[in-house]
Subunit: 267 residues, 2 copies
Amino acid sequence: MDIQPPYDATLASVAARRAIRAGGLRVPTAGLAPGFVQANLCILPAADAQEFLLFCQRNPRPCPLLACSDPGDPRLPALGADLDIRTDIPRYRIWRDGALTEEVDTLHAHWRDDLVAFLLGCSFSFEEALLAAGVPIRHIEQGCNVPMYRTTIATAPAGRFAGPMVVSMRPMRPAEAIRAVQVTSRFPAVHGAPVHLGDPAAIGIADLARPDYGDPVEIRAGEMPVFWACGVTPQSVIASAKPEFCITHAPGCMLITDLRNTSLAAL
Amino acid sequence: MDIQPPYDATLASVAARRAIRAGGLRVPTAGLAPGFVQANLCILPAADAQEFLLFCQRNPRPCPLLACSDPGDPRLPALGADLDIRTDIPRYRIWRDGALTEEVDTLHAHWRDDLVAFLLGCSFSFEEALLAAGVPIRHIEQGCNVPMYRTTIATAPAGRFAGPMVVSMRPMRPAEAIRAVQVTSRFPAVHGAPVHLGDPAAIGIADLARPDYGDPVEIRAGEMPVFWACGVTPQSVIASAKPEFCITHAPGCMLITDLRNTSLAAL
């Protein structure tokens, strides 16, 4: 099935996807096509997709679903007219029965007629809004990945998909935390408002210096940790569910869409 | 100068003001005319009013100005067509050179052609919105006044009017605090979002159990203090400035306006 014109080839997002598709950009996508929404990818066979779709519907904070393909169709017209999910991400991971089996550059050898692609909002969008509002973000300052933690906050299960919520953490001064609640509340399609702030133990986090994913960041005097529902939650839930086949993006290698971050603002 | 019809005599706010004007309601106004905006009163001579207006403009969080009268005019048509500021508040306080000299039921004996009335938003409006959103408010549960504290947060001075911000405090669980930021952010005309949450010492509060105004409230395990700019700030600033003459409402005896709380929502 071929991708059809017309589409706006002048968009930075289109240019970035074409460069990725041509094989020239096998790199993490942070900083590419600024202002455009980037998305987490999860691909499941149709047999599992129904339950996972229900899981996303029941857990919109950690699983903000931007688009879901038709079975076997690699296109996602809601996210870009010329988009092909088999080629437009720099690097993919292939999982079998819950175990990572390989990393690949395209999905041509793995595509099946029953595969359904889920694209989930990611925190890049709200971080852009935070920076624009003058709220500093520590892991960006430190040039590392955001620290992420498994919590005691339960997700709402859907069949085999169940498990604890994973959160990302950004340390802030209290006035910045208040501003961050305001700014990120405008973006429910990309995790929305924080789920917690203050005492990490209240959500089952024993040691902020030892994140379960990502890198630890400095927490300065007078700062409090602020926690958002994280897109690693669905990855963690899928890993536990051990579907026979699954494809995800490689860490940091997101799908660049034609949606603008500003278009996701609820108001 | 007489108050002119027409006005909507069917409003609960009009009925409450008429009862107060007739002398039948010399009581605190909390709970009267639910849904209508209540306001703090400060009356100053025109010579001081100019500077105080500037102070309000520079400090909208503690001094959210809903209306300001013309000199000598006891009417406030923006807040109610039949409103007379000399009679429509249950009890007034008269201050001379910064000292409280008497409490009175009407201002007929004190009114002057150079007096300017300032009406400032009060937290009753956003507390109604918090309760409607399911966020419990401890001092309402306990049936006492909200605890208020002088802080080390400086206000922006205007001439003689200067001094520290006074804040009110409501203890909440973190998820409630996040919801409270969202809900109160919609109401910039009545103090808006919190100015601080968490560590009281960060804003110069040594002991939450000993408020500077109001009553202490219980803070339960897992709760954090959440602080809003408070309408006691202008009263405190005026007391320091010691104007030759000033009139305020007696504590808890507010002006009931015809504005609906919902009309103050910014979005």
